[in-house]
């Protein structure tokens, strides 16, 4: 799956979690960019990503989530692995 598709689906998840259709999500988006992105919202995002892409993040991967780009890369790696 190309980067864009993953990012698009992530953007939809952000729309739901933050109840805001206008959010524009890019690789560099991080918690300082979105009002309400606190630790609770971060967990909601992670759970939604896991369900959406049918993956599970490991302890190390969870610790590395700083901006959206980090998660996109991790997801892509996991999806490639699943499809291989």
């Amino acid at each position: 799956m190309i980067n864009n598709q993953v990012l698009n689906r992530i953007e939809l998840i952000f729309h739901d979690i933050f109840d805001d259709d206008t959010l524009k999500i890019g690789r560099n988006t991080n918690a300082t960019d979105i009002k309400g992105w606190d630790s609770l919202a971060q967990i909601s995002l992670i759970v939604a990503f896991e369900k959406e892409f049918k993956i599970k993040f490991s302890l190390e991967e969870l610790a590395k989530f700083n901006e959206v780009g980090d998660i996109v890369d991790i997801i892509n790696k996991k999806i490639e692995y699943l499809m291989a």
Binding site: D19, I43, S44, K56, L59
Partner: protein
Amino acid sequence: MIKYPLDPNYLLRKKNSIRRNLLQETNLSEKRIAILGGSTIAEVKDMLELFLLQDGIKPIFFEFEYNRYYENIIFHNSELEEFSPDIIYIHTSNVNIKRYPSIHESESEIEALLTSEIDRFKQMWDSIASRYACPVIQNNFELPHYRGLGNFDVYDIHGRTRYISELNSRFSEQARLRSSLYINDINYLAAWFGLERWYDKTFWYSYKYAMNYEAIPLLADSVASIIKAIYGKSKKCLVLDLDNTLWGGVIGDDGLNGIQIGNETPEGEAFTEFQEYCKILKERGVILAVCSKNDEVNAREGFSHPDSILKLNDFSVFQANWEPKYENIRNIAESLNISLNSLVFADDNAMEREIVQSQSPEIAVPALGNNVTKYINILDKTGYFEAVSLSSEDIMRSSFYMDNNLRKEHQIEFANYDDFLKSLEMKSEIKAFAPVYLDRITHLINKTNQFNLTTRRYNQAEIESISNNSRYITLYGRLLDKFGDNGLISIIIGEIRNFEIHIDIWLMSCRVLKRKMENAMFNQLVFRAKKQKITTIYGYYYPTNKNSMVSGLFEQMGFTKIGEGDSGNTTWRFEIPTDFCNTDFLINVNP
């Protein structure tokens, strides 16, 4: 709107927009809920909010710092006192067990360990009872995620599985002894969810959630069901379709011998088990009704099948015709005198469900599907019929409605209504609150909405304290007639201030309207007032969108209106004449 069966991931992802929509509802009643967490509770709180909003309860939450639940309850906590909780929920789980038995310990040492663990919780429950006198919802414990002894773990005294089972059994015992303690059975919830899925160690180590995130909506729903049951908001009536819901096949086409019921075939057996489930609900107080598109004579015939578990007299209302189901269901609600949002509609036909739901959004319509092997699970997991007590009233409930049907038929014989009332040979017992009735009294206070002057709600601990307080005059009313016993159906609580009585609560069950029972109750109130040499009674009417039927009650009783507020609240006064004599009722009181 939240639909059953639940989709936990949908709820978790969409919670903010769901909450936004639910908050648009008016007439939300606020409840103050303190949550004591033995692990992270943030998402539990958010999910609980959704399930409560869905049923008209707007929660105001109070939380403690992470895992400080014990200290904050045992010691004086001025913030919590100021908060004045209506409910306290203790969210503990097996991560909070202080210590498991060690392999070296003896039976008596392990027994002492069990006792100390239980005592810790008893101290919390006692502290809550004395400081806050509010209901406590307490998680029990789920089974451990490993068994050091394998299967032996469940019966050897050192086993963790055995230890947890003992703890749970003692929790249950305490809940039976303490009327304000309610168990949230996470032992069952985790088993049903799947213990393997329940333990998400990544989330525990990272975020200190004690269970899989996906289980949290289910857990919150379970707590919400208990809260709703405490406030009398459990559903009251299950309306059932017939063809392919209570039996396999279509009775109009297949005939009595063709429908699938009984143990001869797998399909018949499945429908038999579903009928058994419905029967169990009925026996503990859920009203059953039929709503079927059939000729009535065919519909009724289905229950004469020798293998039918349900019989015609299990149903308090029976609507079989070709009219739209939503109209029939509205009629069912009216004839039972309950509101639409007390009904649950079970039908295998998705189209019928859709029409009923869109015409009457207040009716609960779970997505039953059309696979009979799943009906019980789907209905059972809605929590719609959650019970927090079981009284003889509950067990007798459907016979009350049966008796009422007989009364209605009997009434047709009388041209004059008073003659009809006389013919009922009504007797009543109207006395001060007695301990044996406190359960029922609390239940009635929390669930009566229509004939209710002030709609004040009290929990059981408060009712106990009022009934022991000489500053209050309390009256309950039971009504019997020749058709049967209606049970305890009316309550008055009057507070005595400055040698006057102020009516704090006056309510009556809709089952006994138009019998002039209110006159009999008022008569007794005046009688008790005169005994205490009180001559003035004040009445208060607080209008809601459900109690307009009693807006004129005080006037009817001879009160004078002395005030009116902007929200429509009215205040009334009654000066008891020395020769007071209200005989406008045909009930023999305290014979």
